[in-house]
Amino acid sequence: MRTDVMHAVRLARVDLKLLGRNQTAMINVVLLPLIMGWLFTVTLGGEQLAGVSMTLFVLTGLPGVMLGFAVFVHLVITFTARREELVLKRLRGGQASPVGILGGSALGALAIWVFQVVLVVFWTNRMEDDGLPGNVPLLLLGGLLGVAVFALLAAAVSGITRSAELAQVAVLPVVLLIMVASPVLMPLSAMPAAIRVVAEVVPVTPVIEIMRTAYVGRDFFDYGGQVMGMGEQWVAALPSIGILLVWIAVGTLLARWLFRWDPRHG
């Protein structure tokens, strides 16, 4: 276990170094979600929603979009490309365990995502009067659970993706769901019924609801927008945390079933 963590940290640092040397990935993974966030705030800013400005609403939903890019898309492409290039197989022939190898990439993705969230916090703080997060522990917990879910889903999806080129296509449905069927841009209550049904179950919804509530200190679970104390926030977050734990279980099963180390097998 301890060596798994040491290996994962080592491999995560290598992953970040490699990301720095890969401009395409830099743009797709780091820059794109930030540009999207900027576009959203520019087009939607000004209005009020559930007691907060639309700008604050969108910015606090942005970490959900970033989960899609920095974690999900990034890891599907990484896992698929490395499997096809036999890198995963070579690593598995070395000292690291499967948990260390996959955990390393997941940890690298977590680092990218945290970095982006920190940028968003600075950004929010510049745009809004009271722009710093209120309940940091809850915010972090929501984020960590979200990263875990999307890393596991990425491992599963990479297993049924034949090449790195196909990976760009394979991730589209999930990216689309995150953009349309999640409370990034609008509360669930404002969605058409059909989309709302989907939004209720996708894992990005509880992540955004937890993080937004923790950030602003208002109720964004049912969009009443009442001011909530720390304790109330934790209690209100419990069902969402439950949904994410279920997703982690589902993701683990899917990843175990679908993930492939070797292009030759399966």
Partner: protein, 321 residues
């Protein structure tokens, strides 16, 4: 000091892919400190066997043990003690050679091994330390791969075609690296298509074809089975020969002559049967000499060639087909 304990045991191993059975019940043992070469045709199942022993896949049937452990179930325990060089393994192409080595050294240190400090020098790649791995040539990549496999000072080393794609000098250097490791007591299981490599390095070897081991034993006993070759030329056509001698060429130690006519000369070869006595060829030649004397025929360009591993390989595979 050589112990006789088994480092690798394979007993009735079966493995396949879907309906296809790639390895059909093979058995062999590699003792501690020994070098065992697995030879065979393309698709014989060598890599498949290695992948079971490396713990990548679970055997369908039979028993395998590496250092007394089940390589698949007890992979975690085994991993620090084993070095693996795959037939084809990938690298992170954007890392430099030095960064790649550093990463692997770090991972070895994390599990409590004392990694080599001179792994790059060992494989002669110091001058490429700053090069991105994707820019290395095929043979250089192979050498880097070897460095990664040995850097944690493994007790058992799996080398799947370690010298494929290397130039003759690099191949010799690699042999030296392998021999030095063996001298330090490392057990090595290696596959190769270079029979000279096997003859030079191996203590024992096995020849596989279509999932079955057809021959195995010490290099000496396997090569002895090849039988020596006797060849010469007669400056006379077979008709003239028959007219002159009546009953033609003699049998040597029970081996029939094979004659090929080329114009006015006849080329003759004998493949002597395998014999355990080292003077087999000498004894077999006596009747030939007597015959030549009697017929007053010169044996032109007479040569006696020891049987080689290649002869055995071709015969084994030919028989199996």
């Amino acid at each position: 000091m050589r112990t006789t304990q088994a480092a690798i045991e394979v007993d009735g191993l079966r493995q396949g892919y879907g309906d296809f059975e790639a390895v059909r019940g093979i058995s062999f043992t590699v003792r501690e400190g020994e070098l065992f070469a697995l030879l065979g045709t393309n698709g014989a199942g060598k890599t498949t066997t290695m992948e079971v022993l490396e713990g990548f896949t679970k055997a369908r049937g039979g028993q395998v043990r590496v250092l007394g452990l089940d390589p698949h179930r007890q992979r975690r325990e085994l991993r620090p003690r084993v070095g693996i060089m795959l037939q084809e393994g990938g690298f992170l192409g954007d890392l430099t050679v030095a960064e790649t080595i550093a990463m692997w050294r770090g991972m070895a240190a994390d599990v409590g091994r004392r990694p080599m400090t001179d792994a790059l020098a060992l494989v002669g790649l110091e001058h490429r330390a700053g090069t991105r791995v994707r820019q290395l040539s095929g043979g250089q990549k192979r050498r880097l791969d070897l460095a990664l496999a040995v850097l944690a000072r493994p007790e058992v080393l799996f080398l799947d075609e370690p010298t494929t794609g290397m130039d003759p000098e690099a191949r010799r250097d690699t042999w030296k690296v392998i021999q030095d490791l063996k001298a330090e007591g490392v057990t090595v299981l290696l596959t190769t298509h270079y029979l000279e490599e096997a003859e030079r390095l191996a203590d024992h070897l096995a020849i596989m074809h279509e999932g079955v081991v057809h021959t195995h034993g010490s290099v000496e006993t396997v090569v002895a089975a090849a039988g020596d070759q006797v060849a010469f030329r007669l400056p006379i056509s077979p008709e003239a020969l028959r007219a002159r001698t009546g009953d033609g060429l003699p049998f040597l130690a029970g081996a029939a002559p094979a004659a090929v006519v080329a114009g006015e000369v006849t080329r003759v070869t004998y493949t002597l049967p395998a014999t355990s006595s080292p003077d087999g060829a000498h004894a077999a030649l006596r009747p030939l000499m007597a015959w030549a004397e009697k017929c007053e025929l010169p044996l032109e360009r007479l040569e006696i060639r020891r049987g080689t591993l290649e002869d055995v390989f071709l015969r084994v595979v030919g028989d199996a087909r």
